[in-house]
């Protein structure tokens, strides 16, 4: 009995030490045979059931804001997506997936695990949802923008619209993200990664749809999507120079 306890304690200690600076775990995703997209399990489900608290969320969001900015605008260069205006379900799923090692993001991982529990995930999502939508974001900037957007609209309406909606509003209940008004370069990067199998928490239905698309087509679709206006409360013209 005693020996068992000692062993258990030793195992727990090892686990704790390993946790202190562990690399991201690796959970089988799109590349695995048994992958089920958005499996209704884990802390995601717990967080979804909880009521997010905006005030506590503001504190939880502090580590997020260094990259995604206090305004939730992300960066127009697409390195970090705009979070303001995104569905809470999508925010929680992506945070949980990154924490679980299902969506690989070595840059964000240590920040994601600094949130302590499902309640903090819910809080952070609630806070992000309380932010107004920045009036500007990264768009396609080529001289042929009009042509790209028009071509992208045609493509979008053929296959993307069915899930992501007529105005790119996504679907909160189904965990489909808002794509309207997201940074052009972020959209392009994500679509490319989903097509090429690098975003491991992707929806296999989407992977199947997007597989045949060329780089040029993805550019056009991204240009169109980023030209759409994100639904929700826009910030006033002069963005609040919010003090930290």
């Amino acid at each position: 009995m005693m020996k068992k306890l000692t062993l258990l304690a030793a195992a727990m200690l090892t686990a704790t030490i390993a946790l202190a600076a562990a690399p991201a775990p690796h959970k089988s995703g799109i590349e695995g045979k048994d992958y089920k997209w958005n499996a209704q399990e884990g802390e995601k489900m717990e967080a979804l059931k909880m009521k997010g608290r905006v005030k506590e969320g503001e504190e939880a969001y502090e580590v997020c804001g260094a990259c995604h900015l206090p305004s939730g605008a992300g960066r127009p260069d697409g390195t970090f997506p705009q979070l303001a205006g995104q569905h809470s379900t999508v925010l929680i799923k992506q945070m949980a997936d990154i924490r679980a090692g299902l969506r690989d993001n070595p840059t964000m991982y240590p920040f994601a695990i600094s949130l302590t529990d499902p309640q903090e995930l819910a809080d952070a999502a609630a806070y992000i949802n309380s932010l107004c939508i920045p009036p500007t974001h990264g768009a396609y900037e080529g001289k042929d923008a009009a042509a790209q957007i028009a071509a992208g609209k045609d493509l979008y309406e053929k296959q993307c619209l069915e899930c992501h909606g007529k105005t790119g509003e996504g679907n909160k209940e189904k965990f489909y993200p808002v794509i309207a008004g997201q940074h052009y370069k972020y959209l392009l990067r994500q679509m490319t990664e989903i097509r090429d199998g690098h975003r491991r928490n992707a929806n296999p239905d989407m992977v199947k749809v997007i597989k045949p698309y060329t780089n040029e087509q993805l550019v056009a679709i991204s240009a169109y999507q980023s030209s759409l206006v994100m639904p929700g409360a826009m910030c006033k013209a002069k963005p609040a120079a919010k003090k930290k």
Binding site: C67, P106, T107, T136
Partner: protein, 103 residues
């Protein structure tokens, strides 16, 4: 009035490239502070380095190597995700700035 407009514009586009070669501003704008702490000596993770007061030459080389992929060990994958944001000249400025901080 004109100054006000310019000020507002600067505020709105705080993310556009920093005009002056200001290491402190770059350090924040390029999100270095997120992982290494606001003054370079409070890393987010115990296995991220303190960089305040580090030799400028050394830290410049590490940044360049992580950016190019020549250095791919340790936690460099986490940092590589943002290195495309930083030009070689900006790396020099950041290194210079860090070397002058108190360790």
């Amino acid at each position: 009035m004109k100054q006000l407009v310019i000020g507002a514009l600067l505020g709105a586009f705080a993310l556009t490239p920093v005009l002056a070669a200001d290491g402190a501003a770059l350090y924040k704008d390029k999100t270095c502070n997120a992982c290494h702490g606001p003054t370079g000596n409070k890393p987010l993770m115990p296995d991220y380095p303190k960089i305040a007061g580090q030799n400028a030459k050394y830290i410049e080389k590490q940044m360049l190597d992580i950016k190019s992929g020549a250095r791919a060990n340790g936690n460099s994958a986490a940092m590589k995700g943002v290195m495309h944001l930083v030009s070689d000249a900006e790396i020099k400025d950041i290194a210079e700035y860090l070397s002058k901080l108190k360790p």
